[in-house]
């Protein structure tokens, strides 16, 4: 009986940790889904996430309001994405090149501005108020439900956004149009839809989401921005989106899987004498193994990555 309680408790802990780890990835991964649904590859998610994390932390620091910070994270990510949209959608730039540029600009700007407003430091100071937790104090501390449900509000926002993105993409007129420009922009164009505008929506939304992903890191998981905070999570989110076969629910599953693997890493590490470096590899190896197991090949939106330029004549 005792052991069952321990196991239940461990399970709850693992679920809780999985959510903690995966929420920034879910935001950003959803961003990936949205942008690629409209046919624009956004490898700059990492940069948008970093800038978003910084903007969120610094605004939250100066205003003492985490929600303003959260908003700022989205705005910062969105602005950077607007640049990406301008390049890829308006000027037909190669998506990868522009995305890589964003990955230089995002962190570059974040650190540059940080130095200017935080007295030469590349990390912000601790924010006075973080994103609040939901179900805080509702259940007895460290009880089963407390471990699972007492989470940063961003975790819940991320989960809700999965549903929202799914609903918008698959149930609304806007979603149909967004997806159509990712699949066959010329077809959408010949039906009188503005491909440029729709793609821009998708890209900017992805930036907002990635910015929120960063904010979820800098003002919910921890309480300040530092240069190494995002290191690679944007890319992991990108991988999760591919792993999740370009769908919101698939991406959610992939992010949760990855978060679980990271949680297991800690769980096992505190219990068994396994070398830390081996454990640290675990999430990455597991991902590859699972992909090998899932033989089914994912199909990206058909026109993803292709520039769409209407014939322009002077």
């Amino acid at each position: 009986m005792e052991i069952v309680f321990v196991l239940l408790d461990d399970l709850a802990f693992l679920i809780g940790v999985t959510l903690l780890y995966s929420s920034p990835l879910i935001f950003t991964g959803l961003g990936g889904v949205v942008t690629e649904s409209t046919g624009v590859v956004n490898i700059g998610l990492e940069g948008m996430m970093t800038l978003g994390a910084f903007a969120a932390a610094s605004v939250a620091y100066y205003t003492a309001d985490p929600w303003l910070g959260f908003l700022a994270g989205g705005v910062a990510g969105g602005l950077l994405a607007l640049l990406h949209a301008l390049a890829t959608v308006r000027f037909g730039a190669d998506h990868i090149i522009s995305g890589i540029a964003v990955n230089f600009l995002g962190p570059g700007l974040a650190l540059f501005v940080s130095r200017l407003i935080f007295n030469g430091a590349t990390q912000t100071l601790t924010v006075p108020n973080k994103i609040p937790k939901l179900f805080d104090g509702v259940f007895p501390s460290k009880s089963f439900f407390d471990l699972i449900l007492k989470q940063d509000a961003t975790v819940y926002i991320a989960l809700v956004l999965v549903v929202v993105v799914w609903f918008v993409l698959y149930r609304t007129v806007l979603g149909l149009r967004l997806r159509s420009v990712g699949e066959h922009p010329l077809a959408a164009d010949t039906l009188g839809l503005s491909v440029e505008r729709l793609k821009t929506y998708g890209v900017v939304a992805s930036g907002v989401l990635a910015g929120w992903g960063g904010a979820a890191m800098s003002i919910a998981v921890v309480a300040r921005f530092s240069p190494g905070l995002i290191s690679g999570q944007g890319f992991i989110a990108l991988a999760a989106m591919i792993f999740g076969k370009w769908t919101p629910h698939g991406t959610l599953a992939a992010c949760l899987f990855f978060g679980l693997a990271k949680g297991l890493e800690v769980y096992l590490g505190t219990r068994f004498p396994i070398p830390g470096t081996l454990l640290a590899m675990l999430p990455y190896i597991l991902t590859i193994l699972v992909l090998v197991g899932f033989v089914g090949k994912a199909r990206p939106p058909r026109a993803v990555g292709q520039p769409f330029l209407k014939e322009r004549h002077s």
Partner: protein, 371 residues
Amino acid sequence: MRKLPPLALTGLSLLAGLIVGALALLAAGYNPFAAYATLIAGVFHAPRDWSFVLIRSTPLVLTGLSVAFAFRTGLFNIGAEGQYIMGALGATLFGVFVPLPAVLHIPLTMLAGILCGAAWGAVAGILKSRWGINEVISTIMLNWIALYINNSVVSVEGFRRPHSEASLQILDSARIDWLGAWKTTPEGLAFRESQPLLNDILRTPANAGILVAIVAVILVAFLLEKTVLGYRLRAVGFNKDAAAFSGIAVPRYVVISMALAGALAGLAGGLQVQGVSREVAKLAAMEGNGFDGIAVALIGFSQPWGVFGAALFYGVLKHGGPKLQPALGIPMEIIQIIMGSVIFFLALPGIWQTLANTWRSWRGNRVRSSR
């Protein structure tokens, strides 16, 4: 509407990137002219600075080539980072544990780096051709795995240098820095005394890596343009279906391509060890060699010599950048902003065309109205 030639495009983009950098500096209250003057002075100050630029450019040339090569064959190698790590590790192991005369030790150590990088690249290739796993995912994962492998291996007693977080140093016979160990012996120091210019260069870890990198550029250019293998790799890159239809074994070529890309990145890691660091250390985070390679490949239009030029450019920025802070108090992140802007403008051939057209029509209007 004439199309802009790539060189003009690159030139304009560099200029525009520098202008954006200047604007950022202005906005932050710094003097951009002073900044660029410092940057240029910092790079052309003394022979040792040229030497440093070359030293910094060497791994960039190779990781850039790695990414560019993969691009040319239709693959996106985000994994140069991991391949570099594996190459450095392999070269170090060989350089430390296999005593050989220099004539053999130098090339074989390089080969060890190449092979380790190639193997790591091939893993992604196999995952793609055998299980259809997108190389973008697999290489992202393999980068992290490589990092942790490196850290595990470096901590193994017997390989770890006592009292340090780094490995043992490679034997002198595997080193490729010019006059390697000799230059700090009394005779070496005496000789350098008499040769001011050479001495200045020898203060830096000047090494043969850049020559190897140039050879690699030539080989890759030759491979891509002049050989059946290169032709077929490119064909697979552009159109897998057509390549398969014409009798090219596509899966094999995917593996070959990733392995060769990995070999180049692995060579980068190996040369860095042989020429500069002589050891590998535990890595607390990704160093960014592979990601820099992506930037270099893109700036160089994935053309071997373009990559070479782009690597030199980046090398200049990387060497000049840290001098901004001590001289003018400018955060060195400005370099990242400049790099990002340059790449961004390179991605925008359309904007130059539009500008050119606007200019022409504007001029046209003026001419007309003045009549």
